[in-house]
């Protein structure tokens, strides 16, 4: 218990003193995980929309696979990306290993199935509600999907948030492809892992508190956007 109160003090100290190293890794964490979330939405949303609004042979199998991929272990994703980006791997010539870009790629792979599976669920529920009305309007597929995505935007924002949460909290993938290099690829979670391995448990816990606060702030922002929207144009 002593190290928890010690951690709280450390966390407050770090934040209040605007610690430059802390600021740097928080920024990199946000950059990597937000980028991965945006990319995962760019791939996962259309995939989710496709699965939600079309019927094809093998759709059941596709749904099972996408849902199962939500449970991808970050370490496996990290290894997979490492093998591709390693200098001796097929994409080694790009020189991306141990860069933030490699971390973004790994996290994108990790959370795209989450975004796809959850947005599929959101859009399919909504489609069930709108389907007859849209057929009556004689809408094309593109118009239909556009309307679903736009009307579901706040539910989809929660989906994106779920992806972001998973990305910003994982350590297994980024530590392999990022290497936890100081001032270059060190993010919140790898810093926590490092401090833990150094036996600096209170500092590790303090960093964990900062990460939690960060997640809290992001969630609160999204919640307030959603609440305002619900009161105004969206119901």
């Amino acid at each position: 218990m002593q190290s928890i109160s010690e951690a709280l003090g450390l966390a407050l100290g770090l934040v209040i003193s605007a610690d430059a190293d802390l600021f740097e890794i928080v920024r990199l964490s946000l950059y990597v995980s937000l980028s991965a979330t945006v990319l995962a939405c760019a791939f996962g949303l259309p995939l989710g929309a496709l699965l939600a609004t079309t019927r094809f042979r093998g759709r059941g199998v596709a749904l099972v696979i996408v849902n199962a991929l939500m449970g991808l272990p970050p370490v496996v994703v990290g290894l997979f990306v490492y093998l591709y980006l390693s200098r001796s791997g097929p994409l080694g010539f790009l020189g991306l290993l141990y860069t933030p870009t490699a971390m973004i790629i790994a996290q994108t792979l990790l959370i795209t199935p989450i975004v796809a599976a959850l947005s599929r669920q959101v859009l399919e529920d909504m489609d069930r509600e709108y389907a007859e009305q849209f057929r009556s309007f004689a809408l094309g597929w593109v118009q239909r999907v556009q309307a679903l995505v736009w009307d579901g935007r706040y539910a989809l924002l929660t989906v994106a948030l779920a992806g972001f949460g998973r990305a910003v909290a994982e350590v297994g993938a980024v530590i392999i492809v990022g290497g936890n290099i100081d001032h270059l690829t060190r993010v919140m979670t790898t810093a926590i892992a490092l401090e833990t391995s150094k036996g600096e448990l209170a500092l590790a816990l303090a960093l964990g508190m900062v990460l939690m606060t960060l997640a809290l702030v992001v969630n609160a922002l999204v919640y307030s956007v959603r609440a305002t929207a619900t009161r105004s144009a969206y119901a």
Binding site: E24, R27, L28, L30, Y31, L34, S35, V38, S86, R87, S88, G89, G92, G95, L97, Y98, T99, P100, R153, L157, G179, N180, I181, D182, H183, L184, L194, T196, S197, K198, G199, E200, L201, A202, L203, L221, V225, T228, A229
Partner: protein
């Protein structure tokens, strides 16, 4: 739309991320050198002298060597002499140079169930541990420390892996994680002295065995072979190696202390 503005602002804020420094090299290294804070002490001195930024990936020696074999790094700085010499012999590295040494120690709980405290013979201590079946926590991760530990068991003519899961526990993790486990379950751990001195979660553990010449821990440095790996920054990598074994580099290493104790002893020839 407010929402997208918000997201864009957040992303822009985060976008101003650090890029690769203009001149930089990547060193695949062991956790002990990184976690003890040595690099934080010597790398700024090197950067100031040469303008070269050194980026360190700190993993176990086994993984560091494999990463270097995959050309994912310019310089290898580890502590497993036999594996290092094999690395060079197989053409992955150019040549090997001694840089510094420290030693391994055994740490354990004050209750000392194997009765080895105060000893200075590793083989005797290990034999006592095996006979009393006192808890022993091993890295079990093919790191330099783990290789050393296995060699010590072999010299005591014991194969502890048969007892794996009973009194012999293999964590498969780094030095720090293994120390956390050892302290947590009151088991003996073999660690390099630098990691132990700088370790923050010692609990009531202390050093129980030290001083055996067999516990000598030599660090070596190798330039990854640029003719095998064209991506290797041979010039800057060699500059780093040259500096490490130079008088400047050696005195920088010797000057690094933690709690008043010197952690690494330069011994380049």
């Amino acid at each position: 739309m407010r929402l997208s503005t918000l997201l864009a602002a957040g992303l822009l804020f985060a976008m101003s991320s650090p890029l690769w420094a203009e001149r930089s090299i990547l060193v695949q290294s062991t956790t002990s050198t990184a976690n003890s804070g040595l690099y934080d002490h010597i790398l700024p001195i090197f950067a100031k002298a040469t303008g070269i930024t050194v980026n360190v990936v700190a993993v176990g020696t086994g993984q560091a060597i494999r990463n270097a074999q995959n050309c994912d790094g310019d310089v290898l700085l580890v502590h497993a002499k036999a594996a290092e010499e094999a690395f060079v012999q197989e053409g992955y590295g150019v040549s090997r140079a001694d840089v510094m040494y420290n030693d391994f120690v055994f740490v354990g709980p004050p209750s000392d169930p194997a009765g080895i405290a105060g000893g200075s013979d590793a083989a005797v201590a290990l034999t006592a541990i095996a006979e009393t079946e006192a808890l022993f926590v091993s890295r079990g991760d093919d790191s330099g420390t783990h290789k050393k530990e296995m060699a010590l068991w072999a010299s005591a003519d014991i194969d502890p892996t048969g007892a794996s899961g009973t009194w012999y526990r293999e964590t498969g993790s780094g030095m720090g994680a293994t120390l956390n486990v050892g302290v947590g379950m009151s088991g003996y751990v073999m660690t390099d002295r630098a990691t132990w001195i700088s370790f923050g979660n010692k609990g009531d553990f202390g050093i129980v065995v030290e001083g055996d010449p067999a516990l000598f821990n030599q660090y070596g440095v190798i330039l990854v072979n640029p003719s095998r790996c064209p991506s290797v920054k041979a010039e800057d990598g060699q500059a780093f190696i040259d500096w490490l074994v130079s008088a400047d580099g050696q005195s920088a290493i010797g000057a690094y202390t933690r709690d008043g104790q010197q952690l690494f002893f330069p011994n380049a020839q």
